[in-house]
């Protein structure tokens, strides 16, 4: 127990200055923008906390973005009278799964931050490297893999036309028509289908001797299998049967795989809340604003109901998660 406590304290100290600065900047800019509402930070246990406490105890912010999603899912379940649900948040880099049982999220008491133990209550979320931007690749034996390496947002999938040349899950979804190149992000961002096909042809189809569509199908099948495995980790391996759970999908890529995944695991129902791509949907439903911070990967995501707000937050735009 001494090791865990020391490790937690050290992690808190390491994160302190950076999170403290972030918290103060958020508060200042939000105030400067004339917002008078109270400001809260989302915590890893799914609850909110004022900035002063968050900056004192930054370890309570670890993975708070995904935790916010689960809290929002709990509220959806409450309103629908659903006691048991599995949440699946598929974004650009990962697929995060958690379990809601008897209307409550599963909470664990410690987590690992880059191999260091942090003891602090957090919503139990399993994360696998199967997001829209996860790269598909072939190993030396000819086996196809998805992730955990990701093309991220920059250069992003080949179809973004920003210099990415390696095939991602999103590229394969574009080829298979699961992502529509013309209406992506409401049509504001046209996807380059030819670039997606080139990437899949060069790195997958040609080496495997398959057609482009067949190669894309195999990547989608592998991504689905990875996601199904993550769901089994939170259910079957803990003595729960996925067939007793409803599947709540969110994240930009979540819905694109939702029904197929539910069918594979024999989950009877899929629910898609409004605005599923908002990374911490609970923030959208709250009259006060809240912001989330994911120090583990130095990524920050912010989201707010007020449209004007994201512009004033540090590293301003809410991350779009294709």
């Amino acid at each position: 127990m001494e090791y865990e406590r020391t490790s937690t304290t050290v992690m808190n100290a390491v994160l302190g200055p950076r999170c403290g600065q972030y918290g103060r900047t958020v508060e200042r800019r939000v105030r400067d923008a004339g917002v008078t509402a109270k400001i809260y930070f989302m915590q890893s246990n799914g609850g909110l906390t004022p900035p002063a406490i968050a900056t004192d105890r930054p370890v309570t912010l670890l993975e708070s973005g995904p935790a916010g999603g689960v809290t929002a899912a709990v509220r959806v379940c409450e309103r629908l009278g659903i006691p048991n649900a599995i949440t699946g948040d598929m974004g650009g880099t990962s697929f995060d799964v958690s379990l809601i049982r008897d209307g409550k999220p599963e909470v664990r008491n410690e987590t690992l931050l880059k191999s260091y133990t942090v003891r602090c209550p957090n919503i139990d979320i399993i994360s696998v490297g199967a997001g829209g931007g996860s790269l598909a690749w072939i190993d030396e034996g000819g086996g196809v893999h998805v992730g955990p390496a990701s093309a991220g947002a920059d250069p992003g999938p080949a179809c973004y036309g920003r210099g990415g040349t390696r095939p991602t899950v999103t590229d394969c979804n574009v080829i298979l028509g699961h992502v529509e190149p013309e209406s992506f992000l409401g049509g504001d961002f046209k996807l380059d289908v030819a670039a997606a096909e080139r990437a899949v042809k060069q790195h997958l189809a040609d080496p495997l001797g398959l057609s482009i569509v067949e190669a894309a199908r195999s990547v989608r099948a592998i991504a689905n299998a990875l996601m199904a495995q993550a769901v089994r980790l939170v259910t079957v391996e803990r003595g729960y049967d996925p067939r007793d759970f409803v599947y709540l999908a969110f994240g930009g890529a979540g819905p694109v795989h939702a029904v197929e995944l539910a069918r594979e695991l024999q989950m009877p129902q899929v629910i898609l809340p409004p605005m599923p791509a908002c990374s911490a949907p609970s923030a959208c439903w709250s009259p006060t604003c809240c912001t989330t911070c994911r120090p583990r990967s130095s990524r920050r995501s912010t989201s707010c109901r007020r449209r004007s707000l994201p512009r004033v937050l540090p590293s301003s735009k809410p991350r779009r998660r294709p």
Partner: protein
């Protein structure tokens, strides 16, 4: 809680206890029933532990004492409320497809109707195959899956077995 203006009558206090069998390293979290703690509470927790142990590890040891390692208190108050938003009334009674989509579903490429989520209204019900799209994502639904829109505008899909 006071600082966040949470209505005191809406504050929920939950108690949980981490339990294990004596000499066991792993604990399981068991809820403690509300109210004063007496013998009945302790019996309920012990029973809850056995039930959870059976589910998690698939065995119990009825003769072994159960140890309470940590007692946890969680004070939770809700702020905010769910905003479903308002819909602009729609002239048609049934949802109209915005176009078609070519998509690879079970068994190959198919051309299916494409609906915009913004055009859907509570109470709408549709049968797959179809796709629903919105600016940030897209939901493909295969043959035999049934879609409906609830009062909060959640999309609910009953998945074909």
């Amino acid at each position: 809680m006071r600082d966040a203006d949470v209505d005191p009558s809406k504050v929920k206090i939950e108690r949980r206890v981490d339990c294990c069998y004596l000499a066991q390293a792993e604990t399981l979290q068991i809820p403690i029933p509300d109210g004063a703690i007496n013998q009945a509470t302790i019996d309920t927790v012990a029973k809850g532990f056995e039930h959870e142990h059976q589910r998690h590890w698939n065995f119990i040891q009825p003769d072994r004492p159960v140890r309470a390692v940590n007692i946890r208190l969680r004070v939770a108050g809700k702020i905010g409320h769910h905003i479903a938003g308002k819909d602009v009334p729609r002239a048609e009674t049934a949802p109209k497809a915005a176009g078609e989509a070519k998509i690879y579903l079970e068994g190959g490429f198919r051309t299916v109707p494409r609906y915009r989520r913004a055009d859907l209204r509570p109470g709408d019900a549709l049968e797959g195959p179809l796709v629903v799209e919105e600016p940030s994502t897209r939901l493909p639904i295969d043959v035999g899956d049934r879609l409906r829109v609830d009062a909060d505008r959640n999309l609910i899909v009953d998945v074909r077995r």
